[in-house]
């Protein structure tokens, strides 16, 4: 695998440079920018991942994310949010960010999240196409190999994280999957007490699945989710 290329956008230049140095030492190629406009410009060329600070001059991170997601749903995005700012966090996830990282962030933790997301992206790429890559449930067809999803013959546009969560649900339909399990599998981390990340991803998925009535993601309060499949 080639050196993963990450776009890092953060207006705290000192911190950003330190982070760059750290991530480079971990084998990543880093493009560093310090404001929103530059971030948007840099996102035009393909990257393996974008790390976006929310508070940035010229254009804030949420705006950058929104613009990027209009054309590109695949590149994973991690938002750097002010610690405890739930609104920004949830907004970011709703706009299609894959995960967030509270600032000030522990660089080891950031690395773990980056790796978790990149690993999942790579699993499917590295494997050769196989028969069982295709999952067909209800009105939905998922191709695990090229990461495409079709719903009622329409291509369903999912972010990487949404795809991974949906895949997890599809692989064990009608079974309760705990939030904690989803978080550990997909985001590579334990879910904190006030962490709504999975709930937001699920609500994004629900919105995108609303075209069909055969698939229904149920919330089991306090425990997790299960995919309810209505079969004819």
């Amino acid at each position: 695998m080639t050196q993963p290329h990450i776009l890092l956008a953060d207006d705290d230049t000192v911190l950003a440079e330190l982070l760059t140095e750290y991530l480079q030492s971990q084998g990543f190629k880093i493009t560093l920018v310090h404001n929103g406009e530059d971030a948007l410009a840099a996102s035009k060329s393909p990257k393996d991942m974008i790390i976006l600070d929310i508070m940035m001059p010229k254009m804030d991170g949420l705006q950058v994310l929104k613009t990027v997601r209009q054309t590109d749903n695949e590149t994973p995005v991690i938002m750097l949010t002010a610690r405890g700012d739930d609104i920004d966090r949830i907004l970011g996830l709703e706009l299609g960010a894959d995960d967030y990282m509270p600032k000030p962030c522990n660089p080891r933790e950031l690395l773990a999240r980056v790796n978790a997301i990149l690993r999942r992206a790579n699993i499917s790429e590295q494997k050769p196409a196989a028969k069982n890559d295709r999952i067909e449930i209800g009105d939905l067809v998922m191709n695990k190999h090229n990461r495409q999803v079709q719903l009622l013959d329409h291509a369903l546009v999912l972010t990487q994280t949404e795809f991974d969560i949906l895949q997890m649900l599809l692989e064990s339909p009608d079974e309760l999957i705990s939030k904690q399990h989803i978080s550990e599998e997909i985001l590579g981390r334990k879910l904190g007490a006030y962490d709504r990340s999975i709930d937001v991803h699920i609500s994004n998925l629900r919105r995108k699945l609303s075209l069909t009535e055969t698939l229904n993601i149920q919330t089991v309060r306090g425990s997790g989710y299960l995919l309810n499949v209505t079969r004819d």
């Binding site: 000192v14 911190l15 330190l18 140095e21 750290y22 002010a82 405890g84 600032k103 000030p104 962030c105």
Partner: protein
């Protein structure tokens, strides 16, 4: 001051006058209606009633009633013909008035008179005797002779309720007057008191209502002074709060840089205990800042979205965590909830509020002792009690236990690794649940933290 003085003095004057006036008017009215009879009117009215009864033929009955009461009557016409008499007056009529009796009356009263002679009592003290002339309906002037052992005031028997009417009327008047008084004086004072209480209970937005604060008297002044004081309190609380939040925000950027720098240093120079220490301390600072910000956020929140919740699974979950955390110790937890009623709560926030209390209890409880969690229902609240078997807290510090950064014993600070904000967060969360939390030293040692949460109101 003078304004209020005159206001109250005036009110008292007016209400007293009102009482007097109503009393007077009620008596006048009752007299007019002949319900109450004044002594001056009594002879005239008695005579009129007797003549009325004579004309309608019901005089026998009336005479009998009056007789029982001790009042005896007779009726004569202009020519001193005795038209009617009770036996008791017969002799007097014969002797003093030389009254002539009609033959038809003669026999019957005679016999009665004989019968009664033996019972005659001597002259009574305090009695009256008079003759009152009343014109009858055909214009004839009839004389009514009355002898009574009562004076004029009690001449006509008055039913008991009529007597009471006078008193009741006056009491009603007074009641009305006192209500008017209370309304004007007590009402604003009560409103002031309510506001003071709310402010005392941490509601810094409590202000005296305009109806009171806009008054032009001393109560109004008091209200305005109170509002100014509350505003200052509110402002200073907010600025303190703002400062805490801003400082915490500002601390985060350098902290983030230190974290990354120390990691890079470690990569270059290899692991060292000093760098480990730097890491630990930055993590601690990080955690502290996070909790402070969490507290300030909770303080900024006007309310939480509460939903119907069963406390049992929530307690089970935090107890499980605590067990796990203390699995290598002899510290135990005992829970007895007895299927508590539903409450309105925010699961996550309430969990962390109770977790802070439990964690505190677990930390301070002695080795091989037990922390107990009990619940009981009291009227409209569910009362949770989390009790440890630790050293307790000096009485003077109990009230401050829930203030941020308050520590009863500074030496414990380093060991706990806790940052002194946990219980402040707990208090704020419980407040957001419209509940109360406080601590007491239990009689047999140890600290008991009591949480009261309102029980969900059912529709039935």
């Amino acid at each position: 001051m003078t304004r209020l003085f005159f206001k109250i003095a005036g009110l008292l004057l007016i209400t007293n006058l009102l009482v007097m006036l109503t009393g007077y008017l009620i008596v006048k009215w009752l007299e007019n209606e002949r319900v109450l009879i004044s002594p001056q009117q009594a002879p005239q009215i008695l005579a009129e009633r007797v003549v009325d009864a004579y004309e309608t033929g019901s005089l026998e009955g009336l005479a009998k009633n009056l007789g029982k009461h001790g009042t005896f009557i007779a009726v004569m016409d202009e020519n001193r013909n005795v038209l009617f008499t009770v036996p008791q007056l017969r002799r007097m009529l014969e002797n003093r008035f030389q009254g002539r009796f009609f033959p038809r009356d003669a026999q019957h009263p005679n016999r009665q008179s004989n019968n009664n002679r033996g019972n005659r009592r001597g002259p009574r003290r305090g009695g009256v005797q008079f003759t009152q002339s009343v014109p009858s309906s055909n214009g004839e002037l009839l004389s009514v002779v009355v002898r009574s052992r009562h004076n004029f005031r009690n001449l006509i028997p008055q039913p008991a309720w009529r007597e009471r009417a006078k008193i009741i009327g006056i009491i009603l008047g007074m009641l009305l007057a006192s209500m008017v008084l209370s309304y004007f004086v007590v009402k604003p004072v009560r409103s002031l008191r309510k506001t003071t209480q709310s402010l005392g209970q941490h509601d810094l937005s409590a202000r005296v209502e305009p109806a009171v604060a806009d008054r032009n008297d001393a109560i109004g002044e008091l209200g305005r002074d109170f509002n100014r004081m509350a505003q200052r309190l509110d402002d200073s609380y907010k600025s303190q709060h703002q400062l805490l939040r801003d400082v915490s925000h500002e601390l985060r950027s350098p902290l983030a840089r230190i974290q990354v720098a120390s990691l890079l240093a470690e990569q270059k120079t290899g692991e060292s205990s000093e760098l480990k220490r730097i890491d630990q301390e930055t993590l601690r600072l990080d955690g502290l800042i996070e909790t402070i910000l969490r507290l300030t956020r909770l303080n900024d929140m006007p309310n939480l979205t509460l939903e119907s919740l069963d406390l049992s699974p929530l307690i089970d979950a935090i107890v499980r965590d605590a067990h796990y955390e203390y699995q290598n110790t002899q510290k135990n937890i005992e829970v007895s909830l007895n299927s508590p009623p539903l409450i309105n709560a925010d699961f996550e926030n309430l969990s962390s509020a109770l977790e802070n209390i439990l964690r505190n209890a677990m930390y301070y409880t002695e080795d091989s002792s037990t922390v107990t969690i009990t619940a009981q229902t009291k009227k409209e609240v569910l009362e949770l009690c989390i009790k440890d078997a630790g050293p307790g807290v000096p009485e003077a510090d109990l009230a401050r236990l829930f203030e941020p950064f308050f520590r009863s014993d500074t030496s414990r600070n380093e060991k706990t690794g806790s940052n002194g904000v946990g219980l402040a967060i707990t208090r704020r969360i419980i407040e957001l649940h419209k509940g109360k939390v406080w601590a007491t030293n239990s009689p047999n040692g140890g600290l008991a933290v009591i949480v009261q949460l309102p029980i969900e109101k059912r529709l039935h």
